[in-house]
């Protein structure tokens, strides 16, 4: 929605061709579902969806290749890449450290990086946010939060 106004980074055509492959893969997997023993078989919609994906991506890929404008700007700016790496670490951390420790660490580091410093504010916001989430989810709604094997 907001991306439309921004300049298009390079790699659109390659991405569209990758989507053609994805569509073909879905079609192939769909055709392997159960038995095609009539118009009401379980595989009818999966194959139809895969076919539509392939065709639509093909049209988009051809038009993107034809246009062949040189892209503008980076595909993964520094901030997106950094947060991406932190999210990966967060996922791994959730398994090991549990929700509270992993979220504290993630919030602290992510805020610290994005606002380029101000350790105290980052720490305070992280602690406050985790506390609020803990109270709302765990205490009020009794939802189970991810538990790690280091801390519960």
């Amino acid at each position: 929605m907001t991306a439309r106004a921004a300049p298009r980074p390079p790699g659109e055509a390659a991405f569209c061709w990758a989507m053609v492959l994805l569509g073909a893969f879905v079609t192939w997997q769909g055709s392997a579902i159960g038995h095609f023993d009539g118009p009401s078989a379980a595989g009818v919609f999966p194959v139809a969806a895969g076919g539509a994906m392939t065709l639509a991506a093909l049209v988009a890929a051809i038009s993107a290749t034809r246009r062949a404008e040189p892209g503008l700007g980076p595909v993964l700016p520094r901030d997106v890449a950094a947060i991406g790496v932190l999210v990966l670490g967060y996922m791994a951390g959730l398994e090991a450290l549990g929700f509270v420790a992993a979220s504290l660490a993630f919030l602290f580091l992510a805020i610290l990086w994005l606002q380029r410093g101000r350790v105290l504010r980052a720490g305070l916001v992280a602690a406050l946010a985790v506390a609020v989430v803990w109270v709302v989810f765990r205490m009020v709604f009794r939802v189970v939060l991810p538990q790690g094997w280091v801390f519960a």
Partner: protein, 498 residues
Amino acid sequence: MTDALSYFLLSWTDPSLLALTAAGTFAGIYIGAIPGLSVTMAVAILISFTFTWSVNPALALIAGVYTGGVYGGSRSAVLLNIPGAPAAIATALDGYPMAQRGEAGRAIGLATVMSVIGGFIGIAALAIAAPAISDIALAVAPRDYLLLALLGLLLVGSLSGESFAKGLFCGALGVALGLVGLDQMTAEPRFTFGTTALMGGIPYVAAMIGFFGVSEALVQLRRPDLPPIRQQVERIVPPWAAVRRHAPLTLRSSLIGVVVGALPGTGGDIAALLAYDSARRTVKAPTHPFGQGAEEGIVAPESANNAAVGGAYIPMLTLGIPGDAVTAVIIGALFIHGLKPGPMLMVETPHLFWFTVGNLTLANIFLLVFGLSGIRVFAKLAEAPRALLVPLILVLSVVGTFAIQNSATDVLWMLGFGVFGYFLRIYGFEVGPVVLGMILGPLMDASYRRAMISAADDPLEFVMGFGESWISGGLAAFCIAVLAQAGLKALRRKRGRA
């Protein structure tokens, strides 16, 4: 009649019932606003919680949570582009652009007032026309659900953005994602790659959070230097003139909401999408273009999804058939409280009907009060610097996704969808159709196959089926008209370009 009135007013005059309805509505707004906490889940928890209570306080609390919850989803949709509940997906399409323009307060105010008006229309339909509407709901055949889902999927055309091919790709991708898991009809696994984890399918709330919320947060990071949006917080309550101008749309959307809500196979999410689609097709001069912050894009889904609450109660109270997932849980609650939900409920416990109508009315009044208070604080949330907002959105997305069914796999999916959605967005694909496909695809698949099986797998008999009832015939004619209109428009555009 005086009996009816006294039951209607029961929760208005009893202080404890009054307080419970208020508390339920208030809690419901926040349950709805937090992605991953669903009204269905909250009501299910309330059943154990209210096990020892008598039935009236339990029902008062549940009616409040339900009413508040359906509305609450619009908050996070407007502020963060994360629909708090599936019923608020359509609200995000124009609500979030409004917030990006600095009009978050106005968007929430409008959503509140429209939800309440829609809610009242739903209750009126419940009070006046319940038996007639439930007869219609029963007559709707599998093939008619197929047509309804098709109508909803046509929305992909208007959500495609720059390229129809890219929109179609995303819609089909959504359908494929929605079909993952064990097929209920044949018990054949579809796209599960032999794993048990995928047998239950991918919850569409996880996809919704990933594609809408996380990918938007990542896209925001591409321009970290942009200043936060200043939010105007004056004029939150929409002026009377605006309410009047939108009145025909409000009424039309609410009626769509009532009927779709009353259908046992569809709920507020599909009602809101259909109402939004109908608004896009019929409103000639919206306040802004649709998709860029049109007020009509909030009016239609918000009045429809709250009208669907009254609609969903219709078959539940008259026939003991749930109109949606929440009323299915409420039936369980009635049952546990020793009542016998079914067609005899209205005959044997007629007070329950008027008590519910009164309760829902009261909950909508509280909704107006709670909905319009505190908007200023919330609107300021959208003013928070990106450095704080983006990490917080990510953590909230993780918690919300985990809360759906305590599955770490779902969290992985959600984050994966977020990253995938980021690439889709930067290359000019719209993510709206993906979620649309995920919601409507499975309904379409199941209804089509049910209809085809009912016709003994004979395509000719399947087609002839559409002539068997006025509902099928009418819907089919309407679908063809809409398709023809869209086709003509595309043709004209092509000719104009050449």
